[in-house]
């Protein structure tokens, strides 16, 4: 069995886990959620096995290196860190609903790696710039940080959902509208990632698909939420809002340490490869933007009134910055016209 095949299978186990968690939550079937947990264990194990197998394969090809050197490999590692972080939180706080919001992210990462026509799963030899232990430290720390932010993001979405539900019959219409709007934006964004980048549809069709997906989710949410009883049951299994808020903060703190370490190891690597620790190139700058957003979150929490919803907004904003650092930077315009003779060694 090759690592690519094993990892493709793992993709579907992650998907299965996400579906089981969501089913367990929406239809209130604890058994489904429990099966979800088992699936995550299986997926995490398969993911790790695939990672190690790929490492071994690279040595068999005579170009041995840790499988952390391109988009495919980093996505595989990203999914694994999300899975593991989820298991830790689920174990610690004994709550399985969270899985309905975090596992889809692990699935999307793996699906992007395995299914996207834009991501090659070939094992490639290391080009000179990538031959550095700092690079390995850089990738590992960054992705642990991203995984923590991903879990924090899932919690923030849950927090907003529970607030929307709680406000459904209350008076805070404006806030509710804001929350709904934020969620719409995100649904469409997620749909765009799915259709445009993972499935490779053209932009227009991808956008239409994303809007349609958001509409379907909204319709389902509206149908489910029409009855007070169903609504209550959907949210009784959520952790307390104050706990979700606290957990968001904790995952962000955890992620912040690792993001800082990631930026730092990246800077040290850049200094040994190019002779400068910081060059304001778009990728570096976006990681700094992400860092600023989460630093804002940490400090905003110290101000009066900045708890709960606003922290959830910032955590969502931060995760969007993470996604942009990771995927979006390649879409930025460039005026680059490299000299014909001198070849940049990147």
């Amino acid at each position: 069995m090759t690592s690519s095949l094993l990892l493709s299978v793992t993709t579907f186990i992650y998907g299965l886990a996400a579906v089981l968690y969501i089913a367990g939550w929406v239809f209130r079937r604890p058994l489904a959620a429990r099966l979800g947990t088992w699936s995550v264990w299986a997926a995490v194990a398969g993911n790790a096995a695939g990672f190690i197998l790929r490492w071994i394969e690279s040595y068999r090809m005579g170009i041995g290196h840790a499988p952390l050197s391109n988009l495919y490999e980093s996505l595989v590692f990203f999914a694994w860190t999300i899975g593991v972080s989820h298991l830790v939180i689920e174990h610690r706080y004994r709550n399985r609903v969270i899985g309905a919001f975090t596992l889809p992210l692990a699935f999307l990462a793996m699906a992007y790696a395995s299914l996207s026509p834009y991501v090659s799963d070939r094992i490639q030899p290391l080009i000179p710039a990538l031959k550095s232990n700092w690079l390995i430290a850089h990738v590992i720390t960054c992705f642990i940080g991203y995984a923590a932010f991903a879990v924090g993001f899932g919690l923030s979405i849950m927090y907003l959902l529970s607030k929307i539900a709680a406000a459904a019959d209350g008076r805070s219409g404006q806030r509710r509208a804001a929350d709904v709007l934020v969620l719409q934006f995100f649904l469409v964004g997620l749909g765009l990632i799915l259709f445009r980048f993972i499935l490779g549809w053209p932009f227009g069709a991808g956008l239409a698909g994303a809007v349609a997906m958001a509409a379907v989710v909204d319709l389902a949410a509206w149908l489910l939420g029409r009855q007070q009883r169903v609504r209550d049951e959907l949210f009784t299994r959520f952790p307390e809002p104050s706990l979700m808020d606290l957990l968001t903060h904790q995952t962000v703190m955890f992620g912040f340490v690792f993001l800082s370490a990631g930026i730092i190891t990246g800077a040290i690597w850049a200094n040994s490869a190019w002779g400068r620790y910081w060059g304001w190139d778009p990728k570096e700058t976006w990681s700094l933007i992400t860092w600023f957003v989460y630093a804002t979150l940490l400090h905003a929490r110290l101000m009066r009134g900045w708890q709960g919803r606003r922290i959830a907004y910032l955590s969502i904003l931060g995760f969007i910055a993470v996604l942009f650092t990771y995927f979006g930077v390649n879409l930025l315009p460039g005026l680059h016209s490299y000299g014909a003779m001198a070849q940049q060694l990147r």
Binding site: I63, I127, R276, W280, L288, T296, P333, M341, A342
Partner: protein, 475 residues
């Protein structure tokens, strides 16, 4: 009065710079403005901007400093504001927490503990004395110093604390940010960043500065002894390697082979492998004698084919396709064409069958020259002895005395973050109360952060104490 008013202003200013509100504003502004520089490419040649944005657009970008925005005054001002904010805020807060952090003896106030939300109470079937002993042994194992406070009704409370110094963590993180900015400033003021291309075998002691401010002499010359590159079977580059010698007064003072990710560092100057290229084939110098053998390339305009032949000065060559003959008459080290210097050239006579001879000048440096004649053939000549391929190595040469400060800041930041996020100043207080049957132990906790973890700890501690008391009572 005036003094009072200015005091008020100073106080207001101070409060402004000490506020977390400003921090949030500045951090968000930094995040948002940083985006601009990733959307508009930075430090490109003006022509590229004009092509992309038009002349008016370029003027506007230029006026707003958006073509080099990370060095623009307004971006630097934002950074300065952040640093000022950090310093003022930290000083003010540290003034308040200093007495707490560096008190000779920890101060415990029972009321504060009793009001705390973090508490756990358990009753046990043992006499109060057994519980009291258990408290001493369980806490004694975990904390360095236990303090005893008088509590109500003549009872006493046992108090302990740990990780008081972790309160400093936040200031350590903030210090690291200041250090980082300081290190970057030192680098900007006292360092330089340049590049130089050195052909194999050549040496130079001058580099071109990246910021466009000219060149810079190094305290030594760099000689590229050799450049080599290797590829993987799939064609991807595997390694770029330059063998360098540093020379001073004609003597080699240092030698190293550098590859990407393994630079040469010497006397504070760092030399990195950053690019490479192939040199154009070397040409005969002006004034040199004729090449012994000449390669003659004949392009037939009729068939479009190119033929390669060889000859020496004085030879007469038969052209292919029955096109006639070419005689290589003479070598001119410095030929001219309509007053323009052409460099070394060969004079030749071309005779197509049944036509007048044509006199040609064939410069060695400009292979396409004879195409301009638009004749039946176009002829180019070059030295026939193949010259070995020569590379140049592209080196990034930097000096940055701020790097050390920046690296220290990196370490300080990570340590500070770990302490701040994962340690907390925890204070505990345990009170034992007699009950009608047996006794009860109440554990109170106070902490500056991560209250949930402390709650769990307090509950665990209460259980441990009761268990330990039970064991001693049974024994």
């Amino acid at each position: 009065m005036a003094g009072g008013a200015s005091l008020v202003i100073v106080k207001r200013l101070f409060d402004f710079f000490a506020s977390v509100r400003l921090t949030v504003g500045v951090l968000l502004s930094l995040a948002v403005t940083s985006i601009i520089g990733t959307v508009i490419p930075q430090n490109e040649a003006p022509a590229n901007y004009v092509r992309a944005f038009g002349l008016q657009g370029y003027r506007l970008l230029e006026a707003l400093d958006l073509v080099d925005m990370y060095h623009a005054w307004w971006f630097q001002l934002l950074l300065l504001l952040l640093v000022l904010n950090i310093v003022v805020c930290s000083v003010e807060r540290l003034r308040a927490t200093w007495p707490i952090i560096f008190a000779r003896k920890p101060r415990y106030r029972l009321e504060r503990f009793e009001k705390s939300a973090i508490q756990a109470e358990l009753s046990a079937d043992v006499p109060p004395e057994a519980l009291r002993q258990a408290v001493q042994s369980v806490l004694g194992r975990r904390f360095k110093r236990l303090a005893t406070l008088p509590a109500a009704d003549g009872r006493e409370a046992v108090c302990a604390e740990r990780w008081r110094l972790s309160r400093l963590g936040v200031y350590v993180v903030h210090l690291s940010v200041v250090l980082l900015v300081a290190g970057a400033m030192i680098g900007g003021l006292f360092g330089f960043e340049g590049y130089v291309n050195i052909p194999e075998g050549d040496a130079t002691d001058t580099v071109v500065l990246r910021d466009g401010s000219g060149t810079r002499r190094l305290p030594f010359a760099i000689r590229c002894n050799d450049f080599s590159l290797s590829f993987y079977p799939n064609g991807a580059p595997k390694e770029y390697r330059s063998s360098l010698s540093l020379l001073r007064g004609g003597r080699v003072i240092h030698e190293k082979e550098i590859i990407v990710n393994d630079p040469l560092r010497f006397e504070g100057i760092n030399i990195f492998q950053s690019s490479y290229g192939k040199l154009p084939p070397p040409l005969p110098a002006e004034g040199a004698g004729p090449p012994e053998r000449l390669a003659v390339h004949v392009l037939s305009n009729h068939s479009g084919r190119t033929y390669h032949q060889e000859g020496a000065i004085g030879d007469q060559l038969d052209l292919p396709e029955g096109l006639g003959t070419l005689r290589l008459d003479a070598y001119r080290p410095a030929a001219e064409f309509m007053g323009q210097p052409l460099g070394p050239a060969v004079e030749a006579t071309l005779v197509h069958p049944g036509q007048e001879p044509i006199k040609l000048t064939l410069p060695l440096r400009f292979a396409a020259f004879d195409k301009m004649r638009r004749g039946r053939v176009a002829i180019a000549v070059a030295s026939a002895v193949p010259m070995p391929e020569r590379y140049y190595t592209g080196l990034q040469v930097t000096r940055d005395p701020g790097v050390r400060v920046v690296y220290v800041a990196f370490a300080v930041m990570i340590i500070g973050c770990l302490v701040t996020f994962f340690m907390s100043h925890q204070q505990l207080c345990v009170v034992v109360r007699p009950r009608r049957r047996g006794s009860a132990v109440a554990v109170y906790g106070v902490t500056n952060r991560n209250k949930m973890a402390m709650h769990r700890q307090v509950e665990l501690l209460a259980r441990r104490i009761v268990a330990a008391a039970g064991q001693t009572a049974r024994a």
